[in-house]
Amino acid sequence: MTSDFLSIYPAKLMEYGLGVTYLLLFIPMWRYVQGGRRQSAEQAIRGRRDAERWPAVAVAAPWPSLGWFQVPAGVALHPGHTWARVEADGTVAVGVDDFAQRLVSPTRIELPRAGALVSQGESAVALGDGTWSVPLVSPVNGTVVAVNRAVADDPSLLKDAYGTGWLFKVKAPRLEADQRQLLHAQAARHFLDGEAEALAMRASPEVGQVLQDGGQPVDGLARALAGDAGWEALAREFFHTEKGTP
């Protein structure tokens, strides 16, 4: 019986047969691993998490924060001071946070083109005055589908940083992965409080933040602290876009 298998032709036949069997079995295996139900399962997970982290009410009352800078519910912050919010149509609105707009108080805003690709953590927009401009990073990966021309024409709209001051909207295919790098709710508020403290230490290193009596930082704070020549470097430091970083 074994001598049959010692013959080369049956062995070759079995080898080819096994090769074809493998390829045929690989198709259902691949489909199973990729999962027919996976799509819906992922959407369910995404939907559930979205509901937890990105509440449906896009613009809600700000969190009660003791700090200077506000972040509303439903908005996730990137540590580079940009925010992301899932809109009703599934796109993600992106803007700069309250801290960034008050730090720079720009007279000029550079926006990406519609159709441009933006990457999380890489420069996407820039705020500036006549002389300098400071880049800010995108909080998510994706393709720009809409750009807020109104805010580019009238930078004062940026004062409503989370409302009329949105900058662009993206189609974000990897939102689930992107949002893990972002700060939500309480964490976002703590982050802004920490940044406010760091800024206050710049203003008066010995005492820190002492404006409990309701004082507010002035707009264009970076220029007030570091002067016309140095504000750009200061802003870049807070936005994590220092020169020389990749």
Partner: protein, 407 residues
């Protein structure tokens, strides 16, 4: 910057205290070492290190059960063959992140590279212990036996260990605060990853090619003219499985370092499970192809066949299906169990090829001496202790706040 830190390293006690003693005084630091696991490690090392010294003083005959008929024991089969294949996570994850652009796996890349680096170091130590005249190993570098698999293994392991060392210097320089060197190495990382894939491909396969020299000594179920392909594909499978096991354990043991940072280890594990399912599935069929090609069907009905089926069906095909189940149903627990089974299967495979089913016709069987076993356990323990020492100090799992872009 570099010179000032170097001065701090040699002169200032605060650097030593902060970076090495984790901010504690000597007394406090030594007290912090008194834990049950450290006691176990200490017992292993206290016996094992003198055993290693004894092996070099008294020779292989006094410490091992090796004979002229069985010149390769578990120091080759386990420390070298298995150690190298289980360290394949370094190039698997490195290539996924740096070359394939799967940035989600960035969070486990450094620990995979560190595991690989320590794994290779321990394998090299094991090899030195096994060589009768270890000082002659330098000859492998200067005798250009370019047709010899052993020559290829020697060069590639040497080069790859160097590449791993260079990859490891990125977190190492962050720890020391040497910005200039760190920036240079960071830029080299992609080139180093390319090198790591080349060297790994070559020597993981060449370790299998070694057995092409011994077609009659290795049992027909394991011998195949394509054994180098088996070795390479199983190395990828081992790399994926080890990354799953190692990242799960690390993120649990060192959870403190990640306080406040959300790392979705389960998500990564499920993603790796998908890759594990496909690779293990392919590997199973390639192994079957080897059986057909070697006309070895008849041996499947013997005791050797049972061992072979345990290895290929029980510990390759079954975990492959379990990986698939876990990946599909987003069940990280199933993926982790499959990873452990796969690693057991690969350990069994390497032991089968190099020790158990090698010299299978020899009536006298090799059984390792207790000293060989103890030294092997000692090397594994050394690797684990070194891993923990480094992770507790250097930015392997956590990020270094001074290098925010570093991770």
């Amino acid at each position: 910057m570099a010179s000032s830190t170097a001065a701090a390293l040699s002169g200032s006690p605060s650097f030593f205290r902060e970076k090495v003693l984790l901010g504690m005084g000597w007394g406090e630091y030594l007290r912090s070492l008194l834990t049950p696991w450290n006691a176990v490690a200490a017992v292993i090392l206290v016996v094992g290190l003198p055993l290693l010294a004894y092996r070099f003083a008294a020779g292989l005959g006094a410490t091992t059960a090796l004979t002229q008929a069985y010149p390769w024991g578990i120091w080759i089969g386990f420390d070298m063959m298995t150690g190298i294949v289980l360290a394949a996570g370094g190039f698997t994850i490195g290539a996924s992140v740096q070359l394939l652009g799967l940035k989600d796996y960035h969070g486990i890349e450094r620990s995979a590279i560190l595991t690989a680096f320590l794994g290779y170091l321990m394998a090299v130590f094991g090899l030195l212990a096994d060589l009768g005249r270890p000082w002659n190993i330098v000859q492998a570098m200067f005798n250009y036996g370019s047709a010899s698999p052993l020559f290829e293994v020697a060069w590639c392991v040497m080069c790859y260990t160097t590449v791993l060392l260079l990859e490891f210097t990125v977190p190492f320089f962050e720890w020391l605060g040497w910005r200039r060197l760190h920036a240079i190495l960071k830029k080299m990382l992609i080139a180093l990853t390319v090198l790591s894939v080349i060297f790994s491909t070559m020597h993981q396969a060449a370790l299998g090619s070694l057995f092409l020299l011994a077609p009659t000594k290795l049992h027909p179920l394991w011998y195949s003219p394509f054994i180098f392909i088996f070795f390479f594909i199983s190395a990828i499978m081992a790399g994926i499985s080890m990354a799953i096991i190692e990242s799960t354990i690390s993120h649990r043991v060192f959870a403190r370092q990640l306080a406040g940072k959300h790392v979705d280890v389960d998500g990564l594990v499920v993603g790796l499970g998908k890759a594990g399912a496909v690779v293990a599935f392919a590997y199973f069929f390639i192994k079957l192809q080897g059986v057909i090609d070697g006309h070895a069907w008849a041996h499947l009905a013997t005791g050797w066949g049972a061992l072979f089926l345990l290895e290929t069906v029980g510990l390759v095909l079954v975990p492959s299906l379990l990986f698939a189940y876990g990946a599909r149903n987003k069940n990280p627990q199933a993926v982790k169990i499959a990873a452990v089974m796969t690693v057991c299967g690969i350990i069994l495979n390497r032991l089968n090829v190099s020790v158990i089913a090698f010299n299978w016709t020899n009536p006298i069987r090799y059984v390792p001496s207790w000293m060989e076993v103890w030294v092997s356990i000692t090397l594994v323990t050394l690797g684990v202790v070194a891993f923990r020492w480094i992770v507790n100090r250097m930015p392997i799992i956590r990020e270094d706040s001074a290098f925010p872009q570093g991770h």
